[in-house]
Chain length 217, copies 2
């Protein structure tokens, strides 16, 4: 379904490059949904080109208003290319379930996928430090106040980049299998098997010196 | 740690493009590990370039010996580019845990990441059908025998592509935080919070006509 546009700097999927052509009924145009998908993801994949070779790099990310923050090492050739303004694509994909249809063709996955195209901008000074805090808080809310902030040397070894959410698309596949009527009598179970990401039992660092409880989230 | 090379068509990480430069101690060179990471992943991200714009596309994948299979629609512009032999990168990232260190700089994630560079080759005829079976069996072992195989029309609407595992890298980050000794006295819990993917309660299709049990895995 294509939902109505909502506020933000611009609509989602408004350019030729971000309009969803395949299965356009799965396209979503609300910025709130774009934000929700980016916020729910723990890992993003950044596409970047070096020569004629594209790479898909996994990165930690965090949304900060209408941009996405990432960080990497100054020692990474691809991160230095990103910092220099090379075109990039950041994709966050959340797998929600396996769709067990009665045919091979309709068997699929339920997912939410957000994609943002553009060029990343390096951050410095207080903006860089604030972005690192945002990145930590995305995964570990409340933790920034407890840990040692980066030293000048650590900051100098880190690139922090921001990708404006100017040109984005969101695609959501949800619900039961879409088998044609002719297949409904097949004697095979059909439905959705949800895929759920949870936390396991925290494993204390063997060097932990304090008898502290693990985090609660 | 860099493990010894093992069998297969060639070593992992043997080219300039796949040698792990950043944190080379995380590089793995065993093909068995490459295979294990690809086999454990449910979603891959394919990087591909269109003009000067790279894209990172989520895809279902399956390893078949020394190649990775993917499929997509003939209606997808990017998939048609892949089928035409455009350079690509397929990345599978498994998030294993959040690493809670005593400093922002050492806070990170434990993960396994496999990356394969190359050009995809379209499959046809019986090879195409066998690849679709392999793709279904990767996610849903045993299911192919129960469901309706693709019709000629469905096959014609599907591109099935194979990426040879000729140029690959694998990087694994595991274990407790790597805090410097000076930080060990900070009164904050440190360790790893595992991230675990599980299946939820199967949701039967509302149109299910048979009183069949859901799959067991």
């Amino acid at each position: 379904m294509v939902a109505p546009l909502t506020g933000g700097p611009g609509p989602v999927g408004h350019t030729d490059r971000t309009r969803v052509r395949r299965l356009p009924e799965l396209a979503v145009r609300e910025r709130a949904t774009l934000h929700a998908v980016l916020d729910a993801g723990r890992v993003a994949h950044l596409a970047i080109v070096d020569g004629d070779q594209p790479y898909a790099l996994p990165v930690a990310h965090a949304r900060d208003g209408e941009r996405v923050l990432v960080h990497g090492s100054t020692g990474s050739r691809l991160f230095r290319r990103l910092a220099a303004g090379a075109p990039a694509c950041l994709t966050v994909t959340l797998l929600d379930g396996l769709v067990l249809a009665r045919s091979a063709f309709e068997s699929s996955m339920n997912y939410r996928c957000a994609m943002a195209l553009g060029r990343l901008v390096p951050l410095d000074g207080t903006a860089k430090l604030a972005a690192l805090e945002r990145l930590a808080e995305h995964l570990l809310p409340g933790r920034w106040a407890q840990i040692r902030p980066p030293s000048a040397k650590e900051l100098a070894a880190t690139l922090v980049l921001a990708l404006p959410l100017d040109e984005c698309s969101v695609k959501i596949s949800a619900g039961p299998p879409d088998d044609p009527v002719d297949d409904l009598d097949r004697p095979v179970w059909a439905g959705v098997v949800p895929v759920v990401e949870t936390y396991g039992v925290p494993q204390p660092d063997p060097r932990l010196r304090h008898d502290l409880p693990p985090p609660e989230w």
